[in-house]
Amino acid sequence: MNRDTPLNFDFVPYWTIPFRFFLTAPLFALIAGMALSVLGGMLLFGSDTALWQSRWFKEVILTLHLVTIGTVTMVMVGALFQVTSVVGGCLLPGGKVVPASVYGCLTLGVMLFSIAMLNDIAWLFAAAACLLVLGLMILAVCGLLAVSRAHRSSPTLMAMRLSLISLLVMIAVGGGLLLMHGYPEIVGFDRRWTDFHLLWGLAGWVGLLIMGVSFQVIPMFHVTPSFNLNFQRWTPVVTFLTLVAASVIDFFYAGGAVSSAAKGLLLACFGVYGIQVWRLLNKRKRKIEDVTVMLWKTAISSLMGFMVIQVVLECGWFGIVNEKAWLLNGVLLVFGVIVSVLGGMLQKIIPFLSYLHMQRFCAGNFEAIKSLPHMRAILQIKHSRYFYRLHLSSLLFLMLMILVPEVTLVAGLSLCLEFSLLFYMTARVAVMVWKAERNSLVVNVP
């Protein structure tokens, strides 16, 4: 690094920046839960609704994106604003305007996405596409700028860079897919692009970011040995290159053996990574109960389940080639793997961030710092435990729902409970930080 630059260790974004994303994320999952409840209710008590018959049904794409954009991407964006300052010593450029516009575009964009899917309104598809593409493009460009300005390079920053590049690819195709739904006669309707999009979204944007961030946070929060340095250096790069190859081969030779092999290789990258995480977590020095560790293990187990089903599907064994298996696998990957990991990270990031900020409000006054709530008073362990149990129940019911659609109502209600709790937990902490800030203003201003 440049020795003349004064080191500013206190580079932390204003607390409402990450918190607004963390507060909104559970709400979209809650809406997804409500949507499932309504669908389930209609199935049980009403008309002849057919649920979970095909991946192409609108309700699949709708609830899926309430979660992947509204919850998953929302949390990841909030975390990105925070994490670049810790691992790179740099902030995303753009002050308060950038987070506000990314937030606005994302929130409004998902809403329009849902309304457009429900009512099939062409211009709404276009509007949703514009907002989502705009918001996430701003984020990706600012993120890439911040990473390139970092004081030093590290595997985490490298993984972030690759993840942001994947975001750009994913979002470009995603916008195109929305237009495809709105204006099929102009754009055409080619579903090879859907598979292209989902590979870049899941393996690239989400997978690589989780990977990079975990290199830092697993040793830090759980006191485990570090990931092997060569492993950290090479895994994100190899995964990214495999992703490029797999997505292109799959586009041109879908269904062929080469395409299966390439996707298998991509899956293997994450499999090796998952095993590595599991091994490190087993070596952790801190043996006390930790919901985050349990959620990591849930995620890795789901990943293994996903891999088995995927192999069976690709090889066509047991004649299981139907739509149900595809949907079941979607639940395992999105809810079992991704939502578990992010839920676990939130259990650490939220108390950590709030403690950090409340400490700063104390401005070095030791007496004031001592009177701050401790970590277990910020996020109560019993709440985290309930969250974990509800998450497992949601996961089981969602999987069951695909096989037995009558369960949809129960799955939806479980989701509603889980994410109402997460919202309550997050909001409680936000109020705590807000009060601490208000008090500090009263004390510090003469």
Binding site: R3, F9, R152, S154, I288, F352, Y355, I369, H374
Partner: protein, 145 residues
Amino acid sequence: MSSISELMTDDHRGCDEIYASAEEAIAEGKFDEGLSLWMNFCARIEQHFTLEEQALFPAFEEVTGMQAGPTLVMRGEHLQMREMFKSITSAIDAKDTDEALGQCESLMIFMQQHNMKEEQVLYPMLNDTLPKEDTVYKISEALVA
């Protein structure tokens, strides 16, 4: 020969291990064992802080002329952690499991952040600026485990 950065980072890990065993004992309600492990941890950490504050930081400040740079921030954080040690000691003394574990968790988070800044930024700078052999000798003298 290990570098300055490696030696100091290893010492962080050593402290983490004692910390984890103290925390485990408290979680199991073994307060006497917990307290003795905890005091052991405090002594190890104090040794580490003293080495930094009295030998490494002054040497770094002299070579670079950076009096108000990273070392100032690190000294401030040491002070803050010493205050946190005191509250944790009294919570263990009072056999208040929830209070003790909650405070431990706060310290853990604070300390890991602090270590990360040292390991990723400051120690590499020490490697670049301080005479290696001499400093490594000083460290191994000071850190008797």
